[in-house]
Amino acid sequence: MSTPTTTTRGPQARVAAPQPVSAVVTVAAKSPATYLAHVLALAKRSLIKTWRTPEALIDVTLQPIIFLLMFTYIFGGAITGGSQHEYLQFVLPSMLGIGIAMAGVAIGQNLNADIEKGVFDRFRSLPIGRSAPLVGAVVADVGRYLISCTVTLVTAMALGFRVQTNAVATLAAIGLAVAFALCFCWISVWVGMKVRTPGAVQGSMFLLVLPLSFVSNAYVPTSTMPSWMQPVADANPMSHLASAVRGLMIGGPVTSDLLWTLGWMAVLLVVFVPLALRAYRRRA
């Protein structure tokens, strides 16, 4: 029989005697500052995950490039009657805005896959705000929006696009699009909490996003649409977002579309954040 010291290694070797839990976790994590700290820690986790799975970035890297090339060189000439450059000036701002909003669609898919893996059970068993894991994931999504934005702008510049206002207005346009995406993505979060598989999230979001982005003034002037469709397209939040971004980057009236966009953002938050949080709580 060997002596215990020769066979014992690892866990038994060094014991850190657990103290009463109160020694470490003192305050109930209810203050806004601790909540924010938890959200940022969880956002960092999401960013690390994104960094480790670069293939999950295809929708914000290759996809915008392909869309931009397709629209400019296949439809552009036909829509403007010959000038692809003219179309690029028209379409880029809306592509930028809508592209960023579209980047928010993947989050529900990612969360749906994530939540099945058990790590969310651990988050639920910790004394943190219930919504912190979801809000953390949403905050980290800003990284993806900025990638989409950069890729689209750089590609467009290379194709000959030029901003006609100034840097401040352009930054405001990007900020507006990112803020809109942060509100829009809660639809995807909600769907991600409701359906069973990541594929189902993608499928249902596709059905929402496709008409939403095309029945708008983003790619063609709504005056060419049938009369019954025009009011729908004009009321579409994507039209307001596209017009606001276009105004900020190319010039023209901005105020009305900006206010409409902000209004839609508020509606999205008020409706879908509570729905998403409730669905998350029920999915225990």
Partner: protein, 319 residues
């Protein structure tokens, strides 16, 4: 005596499945309560309710003196949970996993890193600390999972089937870890499908079946009911079975039973009869393929307690 874990009449239904049908559990402070049962008995559901992940349909439970339904936040500050399936983040390294938990428990960045390093060393994961958990072995993942549940030095620890799927050597290693936790004064609720595991670790055992507690006792008390250990012999030459039967009967003063093909089994109160049997078989020149001393399997426990075998068909729970 105060109970660190106390549950009364817990009921939970998933669709048509009554996962818990009035479960009472109690663990005194600083002890290990073993919850023994087959798949689908309701063990995981009970743990999830006690860890505030699920709401019971009926019943009442306190953990560390806090009500799991009315004071969930305080319960969450008290418990550490290690799931049936290692719930670590596979895309994060060992260190990143533990630091994240530390940050969520309001440790400063420096303290979280120090605590992570301490736990990684304790669980023999220092070398793997910078590697992504996806590439860990099953045993390493379990250890990281357990480490993650200990970051906040919880007073009450839930271990939901901590050794299911581990090979025997890793099981022993995990048992060693659990024993250390106990010696440090934590209260542990351990669910398991193995009587030997509950016997090795628990101060008291609740046997659970179809959402009900069907027996509660100390390991020794339970073994008295279910007949202690068994010696099984399979001679190399089946024609010598009668001789083996005679030897077993003579030494144990009990009637050996046929346990499967060419195999005899006899109940013994302790391991005292084992050495004489080995010596006698050797002296008689009877070669054996198999000779073992073991605790009854879960199946045998259930046969004794309920008169039927476990039906391992239902899922553990629907969630």
């Amino acid at each position: 005596m105060t109970y660190a874990i106390h549950a009364e009449g817990l009921r939970k239904r998933f669709g048509t499945t009554q996962a818990l049908d009035g479960v009472d559990l109690a663990a005194r402070q600083g002890t290990v309560l073993g919850v023994l049962g087959p798949n689908g008995a309701g063990k995981t559901t009970a743990v999830r309710i006690l860890a505030t992940l699920l709401q019971p349909d009926a019943g009442h439970a306190t953990v560390g003196g806090y009500d799991v339904q009315r004071q969930p936040h305080l319960v969450r500050q008290t418990v550490g949970l290690t799931g049936q399936y290692a719930s670590v983040d596979e895309d994060l390294t060992g260190t990143q996993n533990l630091v994240l938990i530390g940050r969520l428990l309001n440790l400063s960045a420096r303290d979280a890193r120090a605590r992570a390093a301490e736990l990684l060393e304790w669980f023999d994961l220092t070398e793997a600390a910078g590697r992504v958990a996806k590439n860990y072995s099953g045993g390493m993942r379990r250890r990281l999972d357990l480490a993650a549940s200990l970051v906040g030095r919880p007073a009450v620890i839930f271990l939901d089937e901590p050794t299911t799927g581990l090979d025997p050597a890793k099981r022993e290693e995990m048992w060693g870890v659990v024993r250390t936790l106990i010696s440090d004064g934590s209260t542990v609720l351990l669910t398991t499908q193995y009587l030997d595991e509950a016997d090795a670790l628990a101060d008291e055992i609740s046997v659970i079946d179809h959402g009900r507690v069907i027996a509660h006792d100390t390991p020794d008390g339970l073994k008295r009911v279910i007949g202690g250990q068994r010696i099984e012999v399979r001679p190399a030459d089946p024609t010598r079975l009668p001789e083996v039967r005679a030897v077993l009967a003579e030494i144990t003063h009990a009637a050996p039973e046929t346990a499967g093909r060419d195999r005899l089994s006899v109940a013994v109160p302790d391991d005292g009869a084992f050495a004489p049997i080995v010596a006698r078989l050797a002296a008689d020149g009877i070669a054996v393929h198999e000779l073992s001393l073991h605790l009854p399997s879960l199946d045998e426990v259930f046969l004794t307690l309920t008169g039927r075998r476990t039906d391992d068909t239902t899922e553990e729970n629907a969630a």
